[in-house]
């Protein structure tokens, strides 16, 4: 079934058992993002220590794609340096916007590669990117704060 390319096992697994879905009470930055076309919402808290992403926690409502995507993101980016995290972010965004033209680099994207099928469903790309946009936004805020501090 064509649809199985979109809804890979990994995605449904993360959807049913989301990772880090409980907002930590301490954080360097906290953001709230919405997908205005469908109403999906996400809160995301981020901690960056010595240029390393040490914690990403979140809460939200949304479809399997948006929920799985942020869950996968937390698994993938925690422990990475901010530079590494941005490289992965760029890689993921490029994959989403590829209209299926590129396959994505599994060595970089790991589980997030399962979202490759989304790129063929233009209306769902925003779902997959919701958590990633929130992370990017939070990281910029956290870094701005650390520069001030």
């Amino acid at each position: 079934m064509e649809l199985d390319n979109l809804y890979q096992e990994v995605i449904l697994d993360h959807y049913k058992r989301p990772q880090n879905k409980k907002l930590a009470t301490t954080f360097d930055a906290q953001v709230h993002h919405v997908n205005p076309s469908c109403g999906d919402e996400i809160d995301l808290n981020l901690v960056i220590k010595n240029e390393i992403v040490t914690s990403i926690t979140w809460d939200g409502v949304g479809c399997s794609i948006s929920q799985a995507s942020v869950s996968i993101l937390t698994d993938l980016l925690v422990g990475k340096s901010i530079t590494e995290a941005y490289a992965i972010y760029d890689n993921f965004v490029a994959l989403m916007q590829s209209k299926g033209a590129i396959k994505g680099d599994e060595s970089v994207l790991e589980d997030a590669i399962a979202l490759a099928g989304v790129s063929k469903y233009p209306a769902r790309i925003k779902c997959a990117l919701l958590g990633w946009m929130a992370f990017k936004d939070a990281s910029v805020q956290a870094q701005a704060k650390s520069e001030l501090g």
């Binding site: 079934m1 064509e2 649809l3 979109l6 809804y7 449904l12 076309s37 469908c38 109403g39 999906d40 919402e41 409502v61 949304g62 479809c63 399997s64 794609i65 948006s66 469903y121 769902r124 779902c127």
Partner: protein, 414 residues
Amino acid sequence: MTLDPSVIRKDFPIFDRTIRDGKKLVYLDSGATSQKPNSVIDAESDFYRNHNAAAHRGAHQLAEEATGAIESAREVVANFLGGETDEIVFTKSSTEALNLLAYSIGNAPMGNLFHLKPGDEIVVSEMEHHANLIPWQQLAKRTGTVMKWFEVNETGRLDLSNIEGVITERTKIVALTHQSNVLGTIIPLSEIAKRTHAVGAIFILDACQSVPHMPVNVKALDVDFLVFSGHKTVGPTGIGVLWGRANLLNHLPPFLFGGSMIETVTMTDATWAPAPRKFEAGVPNMAQIVGLEAALNYLSDIGMENIHQHEIALTKYTLDKLQEIDQLRIVGPTDTNSRGSAISFTLGQIHPHDLGQFLDSAGIAVRTGHHCAWPLTRKMGVPATTRASLYLYNDESDIDALVAATLGAQKYFA
């Protein structure tokens, strides 16, 4: 007379195509936009091929023909709604028509009957489409007026228990949707219009979801302004209609300024042509106006009452079948009393976006999300819904396909 969707579908060329590798198109998204019959598509093409020129702006034969075409369309629209020809204003959409009203009212100087002053009140409801909510919010902010609204109860009906507290002597405008695009609810219009006029306020009807689906007569409804969109009425995109009582249109200041809406112009000032011209600045959306005429003629030939009866029967069938599905919750009235054919629902823990995607993979087009009525979805306690919305070309086989695929989705996402 009953109506045969399988015959009607032959008029709509889109049903000749297939979806997702060969699946039959089951189009249940007419609440967002309707499909178009050949007669509408051909009317637009024919205008371009044979009569295209700037209406109202030339003494040559093509310009005469173009002018004749849009003015005859104005008559058809007027007859369709039971209004007068000069009471029909062409806009690009309902959204523009509602914004026209909000901006024009905002332009009314002191002494004009539309003038708003701080403390005046504007009444809407919790089931408004954003197009009939945000323009009034913004007008309220600009003028210092107060927004009030009717609440929606858990069965999806307007709560009129406090109608005298909502519509008061301070109320200047009551702007309501005739039929909710999410719940399907048809509002108890006459009671509200009566109260509105009793306090001397103006009643504006968002008829986007009623004009395409049932007979609507502006005189019988006793409203002051009404808007609807061509594209939801088997007509072209890019065309909407504002109807207003002649004497009110005369007092209402214009909205868009430019060519063809003026009487005289100097470098520093201008005066206006009479309505409807004063509201139609610029070269009109002529081909779309002509297409709308073809659309209303198409619907009239079938008969709005026939369409309405067909939709009631099919809505009943849909509500019954859907409610047999485990964990499916209808968001909105579950019977067909004062109810149209927009049917929203949730399905257990399955997110509407996922359900919609699954239905799409089976060739079924529905809409998911907040349907541009976000405060309403919030009020109904759901983040989003799946909506099937019906029209004259739908039949029971479409609903059977919807039900089967919905059951399939339950297995898939289990």
